[in-house]
């Protein structure tokens, strides 16, 4: 029976996720010496998109309309399963980490199908890149979660994250650090952040995720932007929950630690985006495989 404590993490995600994007943008603006958009700008954007009408091309079918809805729906479903650090999720069952990976993959599948449905060659190119990198990123996510499952001896995300305490960090420091590095890279890759993809660019030759959603408009685009914020929140929550091993049991303490952690993560991502250039497309697979390797090394370290 979902009680008050377990509802906190989905509600926080639904309300605060766009704020994460705003914080990243503010950090980038600060580093560049600008003031940056207001912190509520992503909310304004999404509200604006939701008020508009949608335009559908003649060449598109129901697959195109379904894409953003399915994507948003699976992220809602994933939010119910993913714990937020010490705060447990409403749903928890054995093997739910694989369900989360599957849900994220399903959302991507829906968006890719919608992109292919337009028949535009640009969107097809973006879809092809997205799937190429996802094929490398998904094993990396599963490996990182497998490392955490192995360290804590649990097979469900909530018990796993309950088990990552300060003493678990002391016992398996190198392994957990490697898994955290993999999750950081994944947070960048899956959310099309800078070393892999630039979320602000609209140059077809270089983008991955943005090129797939070129034809969406109105509420559909709003759904996609909101879903992107939720995805960043979910993957960021997995990372912050790992590196912030505070498991006090007091709800307000754990919650505020996680909030602080998420804010720090947003600033770190903003700094990475300001300090790094985008990789050439041919180097991206190398980057993702390298991240997966970190988890493999971590897994082998815990085995021996």
């Amino acid at each position: 029976m979902p009680d008050f404590a377990s509802v906190i993490s989905p509600v926080c995600a639904l309300v605060l996720a766009p704020l994460l994007l705003a914080l990243i943008n503010r950090t980038k603006a600060f580093v560049a010496g600008r003031r940056g958009p207001p912190l509520l700008q992503p909310y304004f954007d999404i509200a604006k998109y939701l008020q508009r009408g949608a335009v559908y091309g003649d060449a598109t079918s129901w697959v195109f309309r379904l894409g953003p809805v399915v994507n948003l729906a699976v992220l809602f479903a994933a939010l119910l399963i993913v714990p937020w650090g010490a705060i447990r999720s409403p749903l928890s069952f054995s093997g739910d980490l694989i369900v989360v990976a599957g849900l994220l993959a399903l959302g991507r599948f829906a968006i890719v199908l919608a992109a292919l449905d337009t028949g535009s060659s640009f969107e097809g190119m973006g879809a092809s890149r997205e799937v190429h990198f996802a094929a490398l990123a998904e094993p990396a996510l599963l490996l990182a979660l497998a490392v955490l499952a192995r360290v804590t001896g649990a097979l469900s995300l909530t018990p796993i994250y309950q088990g990552i305490t300060a003493s678990a960090w002391v016992a398996a420091l190198p392994t957990l650090a490697l898994a955290a590095m993999t999750l950081l890279v994944l947070a960048l890759v899956e959310n099309s952040r800078i070393p892999v993809d630039d979320p602000t660019t609209h140059l077809e030759l270089t983008m991955i995720h943005e090129v797939m959603v070129l034809d969406h408009s109105g509420p559909d685009l709003g759904y996609i932007h909101y879903a992107a914020a939720l995805k960043l929140w979910i993957l960021g929550g997995l990372l912050v929950g790992l590196v912030m091993p505070l498991r006090s049991g007091a709800l307000w303490l754990d919650g505020s630690a996680m909030l602080l952690g998420m804010a720090i993560l947003a600033v770190v991502i903003g700094m990475i985006e300001s300090a790094m250039a985008r990789y050439r497309l041919v180097h991206v697979p190398q980057f993702i495989v390298g991240a997966a390797t970190l988890s493999v090394v971590g897994f082998i370290l815990i085995l021996v």
Partner: protein, 214 residues
Amino acid sequence: MFALLETVHALGLLSCFALLGTSRIGACIRWLSFQGILFGLVPLIVHQGGLGWRAALLAGGNIALKGIGFPLLLLRLRARAETNREVEPFVSFVMSILFGIFALGLSVWLTSELKPALHQAPFVMLDSSIFLILVGLFLIISRRNALMQVIGYLVLENGIFVFGVITVVGTPLLVELGVLLDAFVGVFVMGIAIYHINREFGSIEVDRLSALKG
């Protein structure tokens, strides 16, 4: 002590993967220097307390040579041989990293097979030493640039050094320092050879060395 060895093990594995996945020779040399310093510390950790000045001499000699001396020599050589500064692999970087994962699995398996015979050696270091040897050999055969073959040789040497330190308990100091001297002379000769090859042919790519045949 165990956590310290485990950290050296993890950093050592990462440095090997970095060597397998880096495309710039300068970066590879810096990783090699890091690795030399890292594994130079192993005698101090393993022989903790037991043999003071001997372990210190061995560690100091190793760090000075492999952590500082060889990398400086290689950096100078790279600056002199004004050729391509890329590694130019025969095998792509992604495949190299996948080989690294395979080699890691192999070395863990070999270590668990060897363990009954070498029960006094710490498992993680035995594992690193076999992994270093495999990666060193792979770097030698898979890279086109002759400097990378020196780097591969030194990674291999690191592996043999670690294996020697942890398995052979009573090696005379003279032998261990002699091995170090051998490595020094080896790298020195390779450096001179590469310098001359570069001056004569304007390139240090090994697949062009067949032009040496008369």
